[in-house]
Symmetry: C2
């Protein structure tokens, strides 16, 4: 007979009522064939005595089992496991043991995409980790944003904004962004040109879906933002790479490609080229816009760090010169405020934005309207601009300190130009050293280079990586440079 007494584990202090705990355990035993088809279950009185529960618990449990189709109750005869249930074909009896079976691999197969890199696990807190140029989240205005979020979520009429909504994003934020971007960046857009995204990456992803299929050509820099490269490659498009020099991506090379091939799009990070930090020159901006018109391609302009300029004012994006709507303009607040606030935008022709909004609905349906309303207020009130002015000053100091220490203490090992903007420095090692060596030696110093391999997607061995400077305090910058100095000294000694 089935060992009723030892088979059930009932807990009093959980959210789940006793009858349901009992029923669910019955279901497992039935499905695994431990209680086989046609078996008569113990009478409710007997079982409740045996388990020390109220009889009503067992009665309700049996009713639930019948409602769900596992047993049938025959008047005056009792409750029986149904006759037609298959037994679950388990390799072994695993029962209620929750611990053991996590490593079982599934019977089905799925596709693994070799384009997608493994992420390096984050190191613990006493490690210094070089980053790509991220903001210092200790300076993020989370208290203020939290306050606005709460105020908005307490509004009497908020219920209108929190159901299924537009895949374009919240109306109010779209209006605020149109006004903000038109006045600050010289754009000439209306609400129909703007889709709210979860951040720049979603803008890149959506652009790729609309522009690229197998065998289409997209032009990118010889070194290029790796996430964009991967997103474009996922569509099976062909990436053609052109050189990047001190004036940015070399537009004359794009023109050469256009003469022999049809290209669908050019991806640029015009403000500060990723990863090299170079600004696209005025001449090349106009040249590229003319080419786009002549050869009918789209310019995907990823303006990821528009707000961070230390030597000059923010530079107008190509999109501001683009009366032909050939530029798809992508930006976000993720760099400016904090990566956690996934608010970005994609700006393009009305038709393109409409199609992009449809695609967006099948990835995550829609945005977070409360957060979008929060940022509408944060931007409209001038708080965003005040925040930018505040951190710009701090980041400029950090850039200057980082660069001066790098120069005074490490110039025998490496070279760099002081970046005019952004949050990272493009640092090239002298030919005696490689970043592989620095990485290996760094492991002895609790020092991680982060995902540095991604700066050389075209495998050019340029021996340069990005070093973010904005996220460290002055004290941390001193520590970082000191540690780096120790690593290079060791490398130098080991080479002698």
């Amino acid at each position: 007979m089935f060992p009723y007494k030892t088979s059930f584990v009932l807990k009093k202090n959980t959210n789940q009522s006793l009858y349901l705990q009992l029923a669910n355990q019955f279901i497992f035993y039935i499905s695994e064939g431990k209680l086989s088809n046609g078996t008569k279950l113990l009478g409710t009185r007997t079982l409740s005595d045996l388990l020390g529960v109220h009889r009503k618990t067992v009665v309700t449990c049996y009713e639930e089992l019948e409602e769900q189709g596992w047993v049938i109750s025959v008047p005056k005869k009792g409750t029986f496991v149904k006759d037609d249930l298959p037994i679950l074909n388990q390799q072994e009896f695993i029962g209620l043991n929750k611990e053991k079976n996590n490593n079982i691999s599934s019977d089905y197969t799925f596709y693994k995409d070799s384009l997608l890199p493994e992420k390096e696990p984050l190191k613990s807190e006493d490690w210094i980790r070089i980053n790509d140029g991220v903001s210092d989240t200790r300076l993020a205005p989370t208290v203020e944003i939290g306050r606005i979020y709460r105020r908005i979520s307490s509004r009497k009429n908020i219920f209108k904004d929190i159901s299924y909504g537009s895949t374009y994003g919240n109306e109010r934020l779209r209006e605020v962004l149109v006004e903000y971007l038109n006045s600050s960046r010289g754009l000439k857009i209306t609400k129909d040109n703007l889709l709210i995204t979860r951040g720049s990456q979603m803008g890149i992803w959506l652009s790729a879906q609309l522009l690229l299929k197998k065998e289409d050509i997209i032009v990118v820099g010889m070194t290029n933002y790796s996430s964009a490269d991967i997103t474009f490659k996922q569509t099976q498009a062909t990436l053609k790479r052109v050189a990047v020099d001190s004036e940015g991506i070399v537009v004359s090379e794009i023109e050469e490609i256009c003469k022999s091939s049809v290209i669908k799009a050019v991806y640029i990070t015009s403000h500060h080229h990723h990863p090299t930090t170079v600004t696209l020159s005025a001449e090349r901006r106009l040249h590229l816009l003319n080419l786009a018109r002549k050869y009918r391609f789209a310019i995907v302009e990823d303006d990821y760090d528009y707000d961070f300029n230390y030597n000059h004012a923010p530079i107008l994006p190509l999109a501001s010169h683009d009366d032909r709507k050939n530029v798809i303009y992508i930006g976000s607040v993720c760099k400016t405020v904090a990566p956690v606030f996934r608010i970005g935008y994609l700006i393009a022709s009305e038709a393109f934005v409409k199609e992009a909004s449809k695609h967006r609905g099948y990835v995550d349906r829609q945005g977070d309207a409360i957060l979008e309303l929060t940022f509408a207020e944060f931007i409209k009130s001038g708080d965003l601009d005040r925040h930018i002015r505040k951190i710009l000053k701090i980041y400029k100091e950090r850039r200057d300190l980082f660069c001066s220490l790098l120069k005074s203490q490490l110039s025998k090992y490496l070279e760099f130009n002081v970046p005019k903007g952004g949050m990272a420095i493009w640092v090239k090692l002298n030919s005696e050293y490689t970043w592989e060596e620095v990485k290996a030696e760094g492991l002895n110093h609790n020092f991680s280079l982060g995902e540095w391999e991604r700066y050389d997607m075209a495998n050019k061995r340029h021996n340069a990586i990005r070093m973010g400077f904005a996220s460290y305090t002055n004290e941390e910058i001193y520590q970082l440079i000191e540690k780096l100095g120790g690593i290079f000294s060791n490398l130098e000694r080991s080479k002698k």
Copy 2:
């Protein structure tokens, strides 16, 4: 000569400083060739007099133009537009006019996906609109969630959670969900089996990316959740449809398909089949699990309204019986709390979850950790369960009222079964009527059927649609049924 005086519009009361307004307008005139290459600009003193601004404004403007590479300053000679700038090839001179040019279509082309339906624009507030079964956002605990959000965003150490983070989602919410789902739904998972998504749709989308390529086969119901259908079709996979009857999807038909074809996956909404609301029977659950093992396919189990049962306890998902990890289990809080809170999960084998997390990083990088921490607290504290108990009672009343009115007043036009759970009723018209007619007549009554065509993706002319009941108050239900009564009366008269 260039008409300096009339060409510049400078505003005092904006965020943008005067020098930058001036510089940006210069840039437009230069790029459009109105100020041609080599042109000598007016001297700073003359221009400042002409425009009525401080001379320093013009000096700073010229410095900015030089820094950005539009002009060069020659000592003792003046400031000149650079020699090598191309002229933007504009069709017509549009200048600073922001209004006119929104309808210009771009020169490039992009792909339009004919699978993606047009969304019907939302009607204004005095319209009654039939929905798919959505929650009543007036009952959503936004005040409480806003309060938690603010508290979390004010934490001293919140900066650690708000930078670039794991594509799996916030650790704390993953832990809380593992505990919550294991204890309430009989799952046996660890953190490595769980990826936080933006809602069920992202779970479906990710599953489709990993499981399906061109020519792969996925089995779905004859009627099926249209967004899932579209997501699967976008991968170019083949959808095979099997019947759905009063016990849910007909598993024996799946077995027949398996005998002649290799299938990659079966998509089910086991708890309440979408759209027909039927619960998958115990026998078929076990049968399907056995088939998955035998024929090595994945079961994508979309448990979109687990929490809403009126006649019985929530039914254990197939995933709870699945020690072979053949079930990919998808759920979210979007139905339970409010669609605005884009928090969902995908549960599968560790390897599948890892691959899915990589894909996720290229769509929107990561989730919103503050919101994820907010829901960790909302769930852990028992607030979610309390909220569910509260609305379950209300929705049950609404279901009963809606069904009783539908039956007493409209049964000569339509038929339905009272759904055991969920938020919608599957309503079939008698053969004299069609929903097309109801829709057309509805327009005369400020009554919209919503996106009702999506319930018949296989074009079976089953003459049934879903009618959500949960989002209306009792009063609104009376109004809705009365309006529907008027529409049918008119239709009936017009047929005589």
